[in-house]
Amino acid sequence: MDLALRQLKIGVSGVRGVVGEAMTPELVVDFASAFGTYCGGGEVVIGRDTRLSSSMLHAAVLSALISTGTDVLDLGVCTTPAVSHAVRSRSAAGGISITGSHNDVRWNALKFVGPDGALLNAANTEELLDIYHASAFTLAPWQALGKRHVTAEASNAYVASILDAVDAATIRSKGLRIAVDFCNGAATELGKRFLDALGCQVIPLNDDADGSFAHLPAPSPANMRQLAALLRSVQADLGAAINVDGDRLGLVTHAGEALSEECVLPIVARHVLARREGPVVTNLSTSRMVEAVARQYGRECIRTSVGEGHVMDRALTESAALAGEGNGGVAALPHTTTFDALLSLATVLEAISVSGRSLADLAADLPAYHMRKAELPCPPTSVRRILDSFCERFREDRPDLTDGVRFDWPEAWLHVRASNTEPLVRIILEASSADDADRLFDECVTIARRAAWGHGGR
């Protein structure tokens, strides 16, 4: 690929870039200054994941927030949901979680949290970007500079809050054994404390919390091979993989079968919808499994653009019971306003404890669909052409243009869109039969390739 792709993405997922390239401390200082200005002088909570570059971003964020006269509650190494919880419980003006989340070690990012503890929605992101683009930053004089405070209480309060959200007594009574891959991330210490409080015996994997990644951090089956192998060699009730900043969860059965990350939302939904009113909100790329579960409970399944900011924003306006995406990010409302891997895991543990069934059984209950995904590196200039070529191919069908282009057929659906976080076009589809899925997938990849490089190749 000889196209110069800028390795920087700014949008509803925050500011994300390759460290040392687009992601410089100057960029971070500017964005944190914009955020401090946006928050208008109220307290801002910050936390960071364990990546080496996060300490650099952390220093840049602190300096910038202080310069705007913003008092900072610094949670240090800590998960995004813990930052979100601290923002809500302290009625802070906002929060910044410094984390490359599911991206590989080269990347890092700022996730901006609003006063409701949710990631900024599209409208608020736009306001923040206006301040950034105008460089209209508040500059406090020396007497009015912000102050940095640290506290250990915030993380204790966060753990207490998610313990409150589940039937801890029942979970405790089961004395579950869980293998957990912490990915050396920010959830390592919090997660151990939390699972200990749930009476679980934890077999830890990658729990050095030093930011070294034994595998890519996204909790997909490909990245859970180490965990799956561990489960085949030890006796445990299940395995859990937790993303570096504690937002996404992956699950492995006692037998060492890594479940697709798409399974987390429907497994949690089956348990939660029996106990709580409200619709489910997910994105346009997520498996139909959750739709089927919602239908069982007579609930609506609302689909939004891809990205936690979009999904949570809708979930909060719809008073949803549950929000989540197919990447393992799930928020069990009203206990959280952000995707929370530990809370999701606790909900799964609750489902297992209450039902007395294994994770493998719960997974087997889910309807079987066949999903295919492809990523095509692609300059922004080609995105339109790719989407148009799909509309042309399926011109008899009505496309949903909310986020890229999506087609919904009785036995299959197809979603093609530009990534929020990387210079890629993603093709995602799902069909009731594996053959249909393969056939559709082959055709879609061909369509996209041809369109990406224009007519007759590059």
Binding site: G20, S53, M56, A60, S63, V105, W107, L139, Q143, G146
Partner: protein
């Protein structure tokens, strides 16, 4: 009217051989500091860089920006905390760091902060080195490291004890201890708030220390000049101290009060130190061109050669190293003894003064009386850089009959008085200094200089 609307505001930033200096909440932004730190990291190379600070309330904001900038280019920030700038300078060399950055606007008021840059020898960047750094900053292209190679911050609290030990070793500690000198000291809630009482007690002094809380704002302007020494004067009188010391915020400069609490004037510090050092071991002396002629008297008394340089610590240090001087400094209270520490060091200054009192069994007033007294006036005139050459040429023309020296700005020397005007390294001003036998005569010189330079009008 249009001219009024277009009038430029007073700049709150100065980038010079003295470092990067600006007003917090104005030009000294985290953006600027981050980039300058990245430029310094690029200049120094990817190794350990010491980062220390004085006690200004803006220190956190500036320090985090420095750390992020250094990390981004692969330097390991070594946080040495709040410390006297001479302690940081000594530590850079001792631990083999690639360089150092001290966050201090020294004697500037509290709304200012600054970055001072040091090479691997712990010495301020030479003018040509500072020029290279500034070029790197202006080019704006820094060798950033990738996410997996970002170095982590280290902490080191050994700089202060090692510095105090180094100064102690250069002193006749036994004699000073035996003298049991009572010392009142004003640390200005600055970087030496912890170190100075420890140092003085270690020399057997009975110490009354005021303004030693680094978390409180400066109790007075941090410049160690007589008008900022009323608290010290009271402390001397109340405690019956034999001598009073006041340090500036970063503890490179020292001013002295006598046993009655009367300030001796900051020019006396280097004169006393030079006299003491050269009486014990004669040798060349280096001061800047703005320093009192008391130094000429001292050097005649002890038969030492005196060199004068452009103003700026680095210029004095460079000359000292070149001619092998063991004592020198600046009239602003900065004493330099390169064989101990090649920079202005208020601990060296205190040590020498106490050693002089102890070994000569003299009061501080006696020591002062051994050197002639002159009246010196220092004034500042706001001036844009573009206006400075014209102003200086006008002054030169007005100084009929004087010997002219162009080492730094214009210095006009008459048999019993002198007058100097030069652009400040740190602020957009012209500094005017006059020294004469009496204060009215010095005042006349300053007035003459002002009249000559202000005469240029607003036409530029």
């Amino acid at each position: 009217m249009a001219a009024n609307l277009l009038r430029r505001k007073q700049l709150a930033l100065k980038i010079s051989i003295s470092g990067v200096r600006g007003i917090v909440g104005d030009a000294l932004t985290p953006q600027l500091v981050t980039s300058f730190a990245a430029a310094f990291g690029a200049y120094a190379g990817a190794g350990p860089i010491l980062v220390g600070t004085d006690t200004r309330p803006s220190r956190e904001m500036v320090e985090y920006a420095v750390i992020a900038g250094l990390q981004s280019v692969g330097c390991t920030p070594v946080d040495v905390g709040i410390l006297p700038v001479p302690a940081l300078q000594l530590h850079v060399r001792r631990m083999g760091a690639f360089g150092g950055i001290c966050l201090t606007a020294s004697h500037n008021p509290i709304e200012w902060n600054a970055l001072k840059f040091f090479g691997p020898d712990g010495i301020l960047l030479r003018p040509h080195e500072a020029a290279e750094l500034t070029d790197l900053y202006h080019q704006g292209i820094y060798p950033r490291v990738g996410g997996a190679a970002v170095p982590q911050v280290r902490h080191d609290s050994s700089a202060i004890p090692r510095h105090l030990e180094a100064v102690r070793q250069a002193l006749d500690v036994e004699s000073i201890r035996r003298a049991g000198i009572r010392v009142a000291v004003d640390c200005c809630n600055g970087a030496a708030s912890r170190a100075t009482p420890t140092f003085l007690e270690g020399l057997g002094c009975k110490v009354v220390a005021i303004h030693t809380d680094p978390d409180r704002p400066f109790p007075h302007s941090p410049e160690p000049v007589p008008e900022n020494m009323t608290d010290l004067g009271m402390a001397v009188r109340e405690s019956g101290a034999d001598v009073g010391f006041v340090q500036d915020a970063d503890a490179d400069r020292l001013a002295i009060a006598d046993q009655n609490g009367i300030p001796l004037g900051e020019e006396v510090t280097v004169a006393l130190a030079v006299r003491h050092a050269t009486r014990r071991s004669p040798g060349p002396v280096v001061v800047n061109v703005s320093t009192s002629r008391m130094i000429d008297d001292v050097c005649s008394e002890t038969g030492c050669t005196l060199y004068r340089t452009k103003v700026g610590e680095i210029n004095v240090v460079e000359k000292m190293l070149e001619v092998g001087a063991r004592i020198g400094g600046e009239g602003n209270g900065g004493v330099i003894a390169p064989h101990i520490n090649p920079c202005r060091d208020s601990f060296v200054a205190m040590g020498y003064i106490l050693e002089a009192m102890a070994t000569e069994r003299a009061t501080i007033r006696d020591l002062r009386s051994a050197i002639p007294a002159y009246a010196m006036l220092k004034e500042r005139m706001p001036a844009r850089p573009r206006d400075v050459p014209v102003a200086l040429r006008r002054l030169q023309a007005a100084c009929v009959g004087a010997t002219l020296d162009f080492t730094d700005g214009v210095k006009a020397i008459w048999p019993d008085r002198w007058l100097q005007a030069r652009a400040s390294n740190t602020e957009p001003i012209i500094r005017v200094i006059a020294e004469a036998p009496t204060e009215p005569e010095a005042r006349d010189l300053v007035r003459m200089a002002r009249d000559a330079m202000e005469n240029q009008g607003e036409s530029v």
